[in-house]
């Protein structure tokens, strides 16, 4: 049997009505995440691992996957693991500070023997996407052009299945994949310490700015540090995205971006009925 694959959903008898995703009036923070806690949303932290016993994490990691490099191939070890650096814990704790009821998955692609190789990173990201989590926090990237295609394919898969990818833009002026792709939410750091202060950049490729300068974050060993880096800004947006999706689970990645854009701290609100909206 043959049928026109891509036109099929639009044929009479196949066409389905879908709910309007965005509100009829202005998109406000109250609409976007008012009252939300992140409940029902699974967030994968693709990083150095997460220290589940850290007071700031308090056992919220429910699944683990650590990439292991063997001579034959890369393997995924699903036993619980810790954090060899502290960075993954910092990202996870930041997400939880904004969306305390999310479920976390820890995907470790950094650590002894891995050195953040592109292959390990791809394998970990692929696993996270296969688990159909709603949000993935990627405070990492690869600079190798060789991986351009592989990342692009993965990122497209994520988009089409409804998984939102939030990445940290690299501070150095080098191309970073997948942060450069248009369908991810790329984030850099700003110096305001308020967690819900985030900015939208009208001239990408970095699209959003979130706290990433002198932020106090959890670190391994149950400790805390004050640190600077774009990789600490990304989890702020991840947390906000998790809040949004817990309240509006059917939004696509681009609709989430629209909501972020509309609720950014530097957006100039248009006037409605003579009053400023928002």
């Amino acid at each position: 049997m043959t049928r026109p694959a891509y036109t099929h959903p639009f044929e009479p008898g196949e066409l389905r009505e879908v709910a309007e995703p965005l509100p009829p009036g202005p998109i406000t923070r109250e609409w976007a995440w008012g009252g939300a806690t992140g409940r029902g949303v699974r967030v994968a932290i693709v990083d150095s691992g997460v220290e589940n016993e850290h007071p700031a994490i308090a056992g919220r990691v429910t699944r683990f996957a650590a990439v292991r490099s063997t001579p034959a191939a890369l393997q995924l070890d699903t036993a619980p693991h810790g954090d060899t650096f502290g960075h993954g814990t910092a990202c996870a704790a930041t997400v939880l500070s904004l969306a305390p009821e999310v479920e976390l998955y820890s995907v470790r692609v950094l650590g002894p023997g891995l050195l953040g190789t592109g292959e390990a990173f791809l394998a970990g990201l692929r696993w996270a996407i296969e688990q159909r989590v709603q949000v993935v926090n990627l405070s990492l990237g690869s600079n190798k052009r060789d991986y351009f295609g592989a990342f692009h394919e993965l990122v497209d898969t994520a988009y089409f299945q409804g998984t939102v990818l939030v990445t940290a833009a690299n501070n150095m002026p080098v191309p970073t994949y997948p942060s450069l792709y248009s369908s991810v939410i790329s984030v850099a750091g700003h110096s305001i310490a308020e967690p819900f202060t985030f900015y939208c950049n009208p001239t990408p490729p970095v699209e959003f700015g979130a706290p990433g300068i002198d932020v106090r974050v959890a670190w391994r060993g149950g400790s805390y540090v004050v640190t600077t880096g774009n990789s600490f800004a990304a989890p702020h947006i991840t947390g906000i995205v998790a809040l949004i999706l817990s309240k509006h689970p059917d939004l696509t990645q681009y609709q989430v971006k629209t909501v972020l854009h509309a609720t950014a701290s530097n957006v100039r609100r248009s006037k409605v009925d003579g009053r400023t909206a928002g």
Partner: protein, 268 residues
Amino acid sequence: MNLDEDLRQTLTVVALSTELAVGSGPDTLLNLIVTTAARVLAAQAASIFLVDEAAGEMAVVVASGERAADALRLRMPLGHGIAGFVVATGQPMAVARASESPMFARDIASSIGYVPTSVVCVPMRFEDEIIGAVELFDKIDGTTFTQDDMEMLGLFADQAAITIGQSRVLRNLRTLLGSALRLSTAEDGDAAERREGHRTTLDDLVSTVEQSAEYRDVAEAAALLTAIRKRGSREHAAALDLLRSFAHYLGATDTDRPSSVLRPPSGT
């Protein structure tokens, strides 16, 4: 950052680049880079870490500041501490008040021998590979390193990476050519021994070339061009033109040469 400081920093980077172009030895250059970076960014100490993948370790190759001598003896497993993370991810990172976090302090102290107050670390990249990191410690006025500092340090890290990367590529060849030169100008030993020495050195050179991926491509390219030259000098010129045009098309070269492949070879 005010204009004076801007200018000072820019001039320092330019002066450094000029000095690098003159071509001192790699260690001298790295020392220059590290001490200049520390001076420009008002840091009390600085280190350059280099990845030793075969040993699974990272070593401090150059250090400046009071504890430089201690720092130079340090080797640590790959993936350890801030430098380890920066090398693994290619993401720069800075930490303020490091001494206030016991775990952090211990990690850093074990990697550089003392506990700094503030740290900034950026990766060194050479040809798409992260080969190490440049780390600065203890901003002199006690504040934390800023985003601007990170960017400036990035410029120094780029220079350091080029210095190290290029010196590696040349090192094998230089060593072997050096041996060959020494042998050919040696005054003692008889002629037969010298010839034997030459042959061994050349064998070593050839096997190094054959085994090393770095040179294999160059050797193949040279062999192909030689084979093409045997067909004629016009053909040889066309082959070189093709390479130049492709490189230019890729933006791989700085010179703006119009493609000469489209011009018909003279004489037809």
